[in-house]
């Protein structure tokens, strides 16, 4: 079964739970294991939180989440039109954060990479960020 859903929402922290809930509902239609469902919820929460806190900061803007299922392959893209990332490779390093004052520990990208099969980031300073993650379900 192929399916697709795109949602956009303002960068409010309460929308983090809304976004991962929507992603979980979407993935539920793909008959995932409990663990797969939990992995997707966590990875989506990380990407959406980054868009809200780092992408837009206090400024505010729209976060877009696109969900796609093709057979057993789940793909989610989380995009913002915020600040963007200069050095993507460095940003993705474990424990790297530009915001230690807010008690961030630089774990978000590591969690996305551990919980999904692939994570790719398209970003440039001032041009927003787009994070695409893929997961093949029921991969024994």
């Amino acid at each position: 079964m192929n399916n697709e859903l795109t949602v956009g929402f303002p960068s409010l922290s309460r929308n983090e739970s809304l976004a991962r809930g929507v992603a979980a509902q979407f993935v539920s239609l793909m008959d995932p294991t409990v663990e797969e469902l939990s992995d997707v919820r966590t990875a989506v929460s990380e990407a959406v939180t980054n868009a809200i806190v780092h992408g837009y900061g206090g400024a505010g803007g729209t976060v877009t989440m696109k969900l796609v299922s093709e057979g057993d392959l789940f793909t989610v893209t989380v995009s913002d039109e915020g600040r963007g990332i200069g050095d993507i490779e460095r940003a993705m390093k474990p424990f790297y954060t530009t915001d230690p004052q807010s008690e961030r520990s630089g774990l978000g990208f590591s969690v996305m990479e551990a919980f999904m099969d692939s994570v790719s980031v398209v970003s440039a300073p001032g041009e927003g960020t787009s994070v695409t993650m893929k997961k093949l379900l029921r991969r024994e």
Binding site: S13, E16, S17, R20, T42, S45, T49, E103, S105, V111
Partner: protein, 104 residues
């Protein structure tokens, strides 16, 4: 989401219930910091058995409370983390800071 604190002498037990993301973490900070701020708590126990979900923002909140506590010389433990929560905690290395490392 719910935060229940119980204090016994110098030990503060914090039972969290619900989903710990950035939104929840802000509330937990606001509730816990006044209790940790006077230096009388020497031991902090996070009971996560009621936590259905946690991401890196939750880890940041726990690590931040740990730093606050240890600035007065206290110790911390984390109990009851379910599989998904436990995995995020393991990645962060936070169990290494706990007196009973590895989670209990």
């Amino acid at each position: 989401m719910q935060i229940v604190c119980s204090r016994e002498g110098a030990t503060l037990r914090v039972a969290l219930t619900g989903e710990i993301d950035q939104h929840f973490a802000a509330e937990a900070r606001a509730k816990l910091d006044p209790l940790l701020g006077d230096g009388r708590i020497r031991r902090l126990i996070f009971d996560l058995s009621g936590v259905a979900f946690m991401d890196s923002s939750g880890v940041g909140m726990i690590l931040g409370r740990y730093r606050k506590l240890t600035s007065f010389g206290g110790s911390m433990d984390i109990t009851g983390a379910k599989a998904g929560v436990d995995r995020v905690l393991r990645m962060s290395g936070v169990y290494g800071l706990c007196t009973k490392g590895g989670g209990i």
